[in-house]
């Protein structure tokens, strides 16, 4: 006989209680892991999108809020507020390449999709796009669209198919080769056509800028602001700002999961306290045959910790499975719509797994402290005499 074997025999004798207590901690940890894993996946995806934006600076209208900055990465519809002339002035600055974006929305079969007005030639060079099928725009104001590979796959679209946007039909000129970014789930048309179609005059939503010398970033920002009445944010600032929003959302969700774990912890305390009252006589017997206070404490603490270990393992597996299943549904949310095209929207990193397991065991051990202490403090005579 050894203590772990004794603990295992004790813990499994009341099978229903064991199951439900275990279920409590399992659900808590599973929800924690799901949210952490999805949050981690979201952050990774945002970083990926930011790097694939291909820009060092984003020129936005003054006074944009954080949500609008996030939308630069997510491809949401944005207010059109920068006059095209300002975009031209920015493009004229030496040492940088600037491409304007007009970000609008349409829908195919009731699925909302971004329509992006671009300067076709400039954008192709800027993004290093390659064509998978068909051709690219033949002129800067052609009445046609080029679509991402994700859309072509999802809606089974092919070259020369026609799509109706705002009541007008546009032929699919070409399909872009997959990039793994939000470009895969967007439709592109020439800027002038998009401006007319959406009636926004000569306005664009924002301008993406790539600089030749990254060490002179501050200098470029000043030059851009001298050229036009706009705000300039670096890709790093943008990323920081987006990640901070995502972080806040993730933290809130994790706090909700933490409440579930806290409830499970009280479940463990309750189970252990009940076990002590039920097994009072048994504790007395153990004391009579030589168990020291510390040994009794250890036995009950290990019983409690075992819930955390087993519940943690099952919860982590369940959480990872659930996050994989939930990820495609969650990506239908507007905020996370850009994740649709990505291969992996969840993170399965070892830090998350080990951290969650340690957290589960830690919470269970903390929950077991008081019951274990109570058990160890029982008087042997009172315990043995307990009927």
């Amino acid at each position: 006989m050894n203590i772990p074997k004794l603990v295992l025999k004790n813990i499994t004798r009341r099978k229903a209680r064991f199951f439900f207590t275990l279920l409590g901690i399992t659900v808590g940890i599973a929800s924690f892991v799901t949210l952490l894993s999805l949050g981690g996946g979201l952050k990774n995806e945002i970083k990926k999108q930011a790097s694939e934006l291909g820009a060092n600076l984003i020129v936005t209208p003054k006074g944009w809020c954080a949500y609008e900055q996030v939308s630069v990465l997510t491809g949401e519809q944005l207010p059109e507020a920068i006059p095209f002339d300002d975009a031209r002035k920015i493009s004229a600055i030496k040492g940088l390449t600037a491409v304007p974006y007009l970000t609008e929305r349409t829908a195919i079969k009731n699925s909302p999709l971004p329509v992006i007005g671009i300067l076709p030639e400039e954008m192709k060079i800027f993004k290093r796009w390659e064509i998978e099928k068909g051709d690219y725009f033949s002129s800067q104001d052609e009445n046609a669209i080029v679509i991402g590979s994700g859309i072509a796959q999802q809606f089974k679209l092919n070259v020369l198919d026609k799509l109706t946007i705002k009541g007008r039909q546009f032929p699919v000129r070409g399909i872009l080769k997959g990039t793994g970014s939000k470009d895969d789930i967007a439709m592109f048309m020439s800027l002038s056509v998009a401006q007319k179609l959406y009636g926004v005059g000569d306005k664009v939503s924002f301008v993406a800028v790539k600089v030749d010398d990254i060490s002179k970033m501050d200098e470029y920002i000043l030059k851009i602001q001298e050229a036009a009445n706009v705000a300039v944010v670096s890709d790093k600032q943008l990323l920081r700002s987006v990640l901070s929003i995502v972080g806040t959302v993730s933290l809130t969700l994790q706090l909700i999961a933490a409440v579930a774990i806290l409830a499970a912890a009280f479940g463990i305390i309750n189970t252990m306290m009940t076990a002590i009252y039920e097994r009072r006589r048994e504790i007395g017997i153990l004391q009579a045959i030589g168990a020291r206070e510390i040994t009794i404490f250890k036995i009950f603490l290990l019983e409690s910790g075992f819930y955390g270990l087993l519940g943690g393992v099952i919860g982590i597996v369940a959480g990872l499975i659930f996050s994989s299943i939930a990820s495609p549904y969650i990506s239908q949310n507007e905020f996370t719509a850009f994740m649709k095209g990505s291969e992996m929207a969840v993170t399965f990193d070892s830090k998350l797994i080990i951290g969650s397991l340690l957290f589960s065991v830690f919470v269970s051990l903390i929950s077991g402290l008081y019951p274990a202490w109570k058990a160890s403090r029982l008087s042997p005579v009172e315990a043995i005499s307990y009927e």
Partner: protein, 229 residues
């Protein structure tokens, strides 16, 4: 080594129930000889079991002292008392007090686990003790699968697991039929012959007749000091 293995000096034990103080023991002084077979008799509720608990270090006296092998155990910490119980004293109770979720063998092994015996030795010794007490066929039986007599023999095997010098037994046959009682008493007498100091708490005068020393307690006082037999 002294011939006296247990000595109590003016033992007093009181319990407070609200503002009322109840005396369980009122100044008990006695000596138990090494390798002897002693009985503590008296009516129920007069302090026999309390005296046994104090002699076995399961409880502390309100006043007075308990000496085991000449050492005063009254001032020992709970942990030190547990160590003493593990090494020197074996307990057998009226209701067997076996751990219900463990097999007969595991019950015996558990006692050895607390005194740090390795698992291999635990297994061998538990098997040997249970076989010695006629339970070689019941090693893996749970207490609920054993008769009262068999359960009490498992309890005796558990009490002997750490080879203690002293066996303290509280009504060991009180819950057995006459056939099982005879078996258990036979085992107890054999243990005494093998050199164990046996102290039985009972109100059964037939068992007391088998003992070398009999202490009678009434109202927490010793009315027969064992020397008069």
């Amino acid at each position: 080594m002294s011939d006296i293995i247990i000595k109590t000096e003016n033992l007093v034990k009181t319990y407070n129930t609200g503002k009322v103080r109840t005396y369980a023991l009122r100044g008990i002084s006695l000596e138990i000889a090494r390798n002897s077979f002693s009985c503590i008799i008296g009516p129920s509720g007069h302090g026999k079991s309390t005296l046994m608990h104090l002699m076995g270090g399961l409880d502390g006296p309100t006043e007075g002292s308990v000496f085991i092998d000449g050492a005063d155990i009254s001032g020992l910490s709970n942990s030190e008392l547990a160590g003493l119980r593990a090494k020197k004293i074996g307990f057998v109770f009226q209701f067997f007090n076996l751990l219900q979720n463990l097999t007969a063998k595991e019950n015996v092994e558990t006692a050895m686990m607390f005194s740090g015996v390795n698992e291999k030795t635990q297994k061998e010794k538990a098997k040997g003790l249970l076989s010695l007490l006629g339970l070689s066929e019941k090693l893996n039986a749970k207490p609920s699968e054993l008769s009262g007599g068999q359960q009490q023999r498992v309890a005796i095997a558990r009490a002997l697991a750490n080879d203690p010098e002293i066996l303290l037994m509280d009504e060991p046959t009180g819950n057995l039929d006459s056939e099982s009682e005879a078996e258990v008493l036979d085992n107890i007498l054999k243990l005494n012959k093998d050199g164990k100091t046996i102290i039985i708490v009972t109100h059964n005068r037939d068992i007391a007749k088998m003992a070398a020393m009999v202490f009678e307690i009434r109202d927490g006082r010793l009315v027969d000091d064992g020397k008069t037999k």
